[in-house]
C-alpha cells in the first residue's frame, strides 16, 4: 500500500541508486544509444527531489504529480516523458487504489501509450511489464527481466537505428527501471 511517507522514501532510495550508478547507466547507453541515460536520470531525480521539497503536507496525488513534473521538466531525453507519464498516470489513479500492483499497471499503460513500444522491443517496458504482471514482486523477477533485454533487438528508441547490432547489450532504460523497482521492494510497508 503506497502512502505519502513510503512513496517519498521509495523515491529517495531511487535517487540514491541513480546517483550511485549514473556513470554505469550512461556507459550502457553508449554502444546502443547516445551515452546520456545516467545524466538524464540524475537531472530528473534532482528535479524530483526539488519538486518534492516544495510540497507542504501533500496528499498522495499531489506527491505523484510532483514526481512526474520533476521528471518531465528536467530530463528531456526519451526517458523523461516515459517515466513522467508513468507517474502522472499513478497520480490519476491513486485516489481510487493505493495498491502498488495497480499503480504499476497504470504506469505501464502510460509508458506504452506515450512511447508506442510493446513487450520485446528492448525498452523499459520489458521491465515494467513483467513487474506489473508478477504475482509476487521479487528481486529475482526484476533481475531476470533486466537481463532478458540483452538478447533482444531494439525496435523503439535510439537503439533501434542499430538494427541487429543492438543485440548483446542491456537496455539502459530497463536497467534504471530495475533500480526503481528494487528501491520499491527495499522500502518497508509498500508491498
Amino acid at each position: 500500500m503506497l502512502t505519502v511517507e513510503n512513496t517519498q522514501k521509495w523515491l529517495n532510495n531511487f535517487y540514491q541508486k541513480i546517483e550511485e550508478h549514473k556513470d554505469y547507466l550512461s556507459e550502457l547507453d553508449t554502444p546502443i544509444g547516445d551515452g546520456d541515460h545516467g545524466n538524464n536520470m540524475m537531472r530528473g531525480m534532482v528535479g524530483v527531489k526539488e519538486s518534492m521539497a516544495r510540497l507542504q503536507n501533500p496528499d498522495l496525488q499531489a506527491l505523484f504529480k510532483a514526481i512526474a513534473m520533476g521528471l518531465i521538466s528536467k530530463v528531456g531525453g526519451a526517458s523523461g516523458p516515459l517515466y513522467g507519464t508513468a507517474f502522472l498516470e499513478m497520480a490519476k489513479k491513486c485516489t481510487e487504489t493505493q495498491a502498488a500492483a495497480d499503480l504499476i499497471l497504470v504506469g505501464l499503460a502510460g509508458i506504452k501509450k506515450r512511447g508506442g513500444a510493446t513487450e520485446g522491443d528492448k525498452t523499459m517496458v520489458d521491465v515494467w511489464s513483467p513487474v506489473a504482471h508478477s504475482s509476487q514482486l521479487t528481486t529475482e523477477v526484476i533481475a531476470a527481466a533486466v537481463a532478458a533485454t540483452k538478447d533482444m533487438q531494439a525496435k523503439k528508441g535510439r537503439a533501434s537505428y542499430l538494427g541487429e547490432r543492438s543485440i548483446g547489450h542491456l537496455d539502459p532504460g530497463a536497467v534504471s527501471s530495475g533500480y526503481l523497482f528494487t528501491a520499491l521492494i527495499e522500502t518497508e510497508g509498500i508491498l
Binding site: S26, D34, R43, G80, P81, Y161
Partner: protein, 331 residues
Amino acid sequence: MKKIINEPQNVVSEMVDGLVRSYPQYLEKIPDTEAMIRSDSASMKGKVGIVSGGGSGHEPSHAGFIGKGMLTAAVAGQVFTSPTPDQIYAAIKAADQGRGVFLVIKNYSGDVMNFDMAKDLAELDDIKVKSIIVNDDIAVEDSLYTQGRRGVAGTVLMHKIVGAAADQGASLAEIETLAEKALPHISTIAVALSAATVPEVGKPGFTLADDEIEYGVGIHSEPGYRREKIKTSQKLVTELLDKLDQNQPLQADHQYAVLVNGMGATPLMEQYIFSHDLLDQLAAKNIKPVFMKVGNYMTSIEMAGISLTLFDLVDSEWLKYLTYPVETVAW
C-alpha cells in the same frame, strides 16, 4: 576535450545568453526558459506561430533561424537531448497569436514525446497546435521495426518554407498541408570525418582512424552504414548521390533545391569543393539545381563532415518560399 567553455553543465544556458545578447535585434529569451522568440513582435501579429527546437549542439539550428519570415520561437534542450515539455509549452504560448502554432520536430523518440506532451499542455489552454515530424535522413531505413528515419539538415529547409508561408498569412491547416506535402521530397545523407564531443561527456561519440570516414552518421554521432578509407571529394559525392538516387531516383526534368551542410569543423573550402563536384555530377544527370545553400546550418558541435540534402520541388510554390526574404541570424 579542448573547448572554449566554462563549466560543462552550463554550456546551454551560457550559449543561449550569448546568442540573445549578441543579436537582440532578432531574438530574445522567454523568461525562465532556454526558449527564444522573435524580438520583432510586430512581425508575429496575426500570423501562425512556427516553433522548432531540439537538443543543443546543432548551432546555428535552431535559434539562428528565428526572425521575420522563418521561425517564431525555438527551444534549446541540453546538448543532444530534447527540450522538456514545460519549455516547449512556454514557447508555444509565447508564439501563439490566436491563429495557432505549428511545431517542427525532428524524428527522435525523445523529441517526439516531449513535443507531444507540450502539445497536450497547450491544447488544454485552447491553443491550436499542429506539427510535422521531419525524417529526412535516408541512412536509416524507414521500417516498422525502427523508430523510423532520423530528422537532420533537411529540417532547416522545412523551417524555411513553413516560415515563409506563415509570414504570408497561411492558416495552420494550410501550413500543415504544405509541410506534409513537402516532407517526402526532402532527403539527406551525410559523411563524417570525425565525431562530436558532448561537453558533459568529455570524449568523442566515436573514433575514426586518421584516414577513415563513415557514411550515414547522424547528427548525434549515431552510427552510419559503412566505414572506409577517406576518398576524394569526387568519390564522396558519387557515394552520397548514388545513395540518394537509390532512395528516390533523380529526375532530369525535376527542379531541385540543394543544401550542402557543414557538420561543424569542416571548413568552407572543403564545402565549396564538394559543391563543385556535386554540381558536376548533377549536371552529368542533366540536373541543374534551382536553389542552393552551402554552409554550416545543422551542425553536430565540432564534428567534421558534410551532409547533402536534396529537396525535389514538385510544387513550384516551394521555390518561392525558399527564396522569400527573411531576417535571421543564420539563414
